[in-house]
């Protein structure tokens, strides 16, 4: 616990040092507020426009959350198929790398053209960008089971299904969480990128990406910063939620979860 406090205190020190540096830059170079607002101005924007920040964040949460959940469901199913044979993996694995390397900025307009704008399209973009790490990590977990454990199951005449669901899948859960941790961050990035193209789906405002675009076109730089701050907080929240779930499901038996607790 003392260790935790110490880490938090160190991080806070850096935060305040950065704020100070920011303010110093403003004072020395006389930067215009529309180029770089002061920390105080950003704080004021957060307070003044809190309802609209919250509304924009809520939209982005739904989109990236839906994308992330879809990528977990689909990613695990694909990994289960991949685990069936080396041959299937060899045939299909390169395409998951393709998913990871395709520039999302380039295909986002295509997806909007096919699916139309709105929440579904943005969630789809978040899904595409976050599914690859889940497939890769889960597959790795499914196939890296100790050979003797497979032998043990065979000695009891276990069916293929039993080996998959009672041995491979539970063994892959820690790896699945590694995948989800990576995916949780990039699903938010995917959703915001999608929103830049998809615009607003509802009257009166869209998600964070749309609002960022709007604020920059209006030169509301303080609000823009507030939005970026909200996006960061959102990414962090996703990450910590996943960390908590990981701890919750694994701490009783898994070493890495145990270490996380001690650190």
């Amino acid at each position: 616990m003392r260790q935790h406090l110490r880490t938090a205190a160190d991080a806070l020190c850096v935060f305040f040092a950065l704020l100070l540096l920011w303010q110093l830059i403003l004072w020395t170079f006389h930067v215009q507020p529309y180029m770089l607002p002061s920390p105080a101005a950003v704080a004021r924007a957060v307070v003044a426009r809190f309802p609209s920040l919250l509304a924009a964040s809520a939209i982005t949460v739904v989109e990236s959350g839906a994308g992330l959940i879809a990528s977990i469901v689909v990613g695990v199913i694909v990994a289960l198929i991949f685990a069936q044979s080396r041959w299937v993996r060899r045939m299909l694995y390169p395409y998951t790398i393709l998913l990871q390397t395709v520039p999302i900025v380039a295909i986002a307009p295509l997806i909007l053209m096919w699916v139309g704008g709105g929440t579904a399209a943005v969630a789809l973009i978040a899904f595409i960008i976050s599914v690859a790490p889940i497939i890769a990590n889960t597959t790795q977990g499914l196939v890296s089971v100790d050979e003797n454990l497979v032998h043990l199951f065979l000695m009891h005449n276990a069916t293929r299904g039993q080996v998959l669901f009672k041995l491979r899948l539970p063994h892959a859960v820690p790896s699945l969480f590694v995948g989800i941790r990576i995916a949780s961050g990039i699903s938010v990035i995917g959703a915001i990128t999608g929103e830049l193209y998809a615009g607003s789906s509802s009257v009166g405002g869209g998600g964070l990406g749309y609002s960022i675009l709007y604020a920059s076109s209006q030169l509301q730089t303080d609000y823009l910063f507030a939005l970026v701050l909200a996006a960061t907080v959102l990414g962090f929240s996703f990450f910590f939620l996943v960390m908590f779930l990981e701890w919750y499901f694994l701490h009783r038996w898994h070493e890495s979860a145990l270490k996380m607790e001690v650190e």
Binding site: H151, L152, M155, N157, L167, V173, W253
Partner: protein
Amino acid sequence: MTSELAVPMIELSGLTKRYGDGQTILNSVSLTISKGEFVSIIGPSGCGKSTVLKLIAGLAVPTSGTISVDGMTPRNARELIAFIFQDATLLPWRTVAQNVGLGLELEGIGKVPRNQKTSQLIELVGLQHMANAYPRELSGGMKMRVSIARALATSPRLLLMDEPFAALDEMSRDRLNEEVLRLRAEQNWTAVFVTHSVAEAVFLSTRIVVLAPNPGRVEAEFPIDLPATRTGELRETPEFEALVMQVSHALRTALTQ
């Protein structure tokens, strides 16, 4: 015990195992093990002793030769066999009780009889107080006890043990050896036990088979005519010492050939 039950449990004849690269692991090994015997297979590394176990379990297929386990092919005989590996091979996400019940669960035994059998076996290996612990909370010796309890849960008639106590300290090893003898006296299974330790082999076995390496073949066999009920003090008797020396000598011969 052996003489009145001279019914064969395992019959290996002309067993040869070659790997893909042409290396011969076992060369024409023939061996008959009767019901109720406790046979230790001992030999230097590379003599194929673990391969013999894998072949009997049907986890590997011989290049030539035949294997019969209670008159069946190894695969068909799996219900009679339990395998104890060098590592405890416990599932880390399952508690001790859930690990012990694994075999019964895979064989479709219902929850109530399963729990009954499971707690009975946990008690048999003296781990009642750890029934709900996870493997990472256990010592090496405790893990091995769980592994033994799991193997015995399905009431096997043949136990195949691949250096199960190699990773343990000598004290735990000696205690577990005594426990294995006690369990065998109660349940009367046949056992094939692979080990590096001559003393362990002499203490446990009714017969010791020494394998020679390159390629693996039977070098010598020693019947162990020590009393059926053995306690720790047996290790200090001259008869025990003499047998250990005999087997060690054969092992050295196998190595220097």
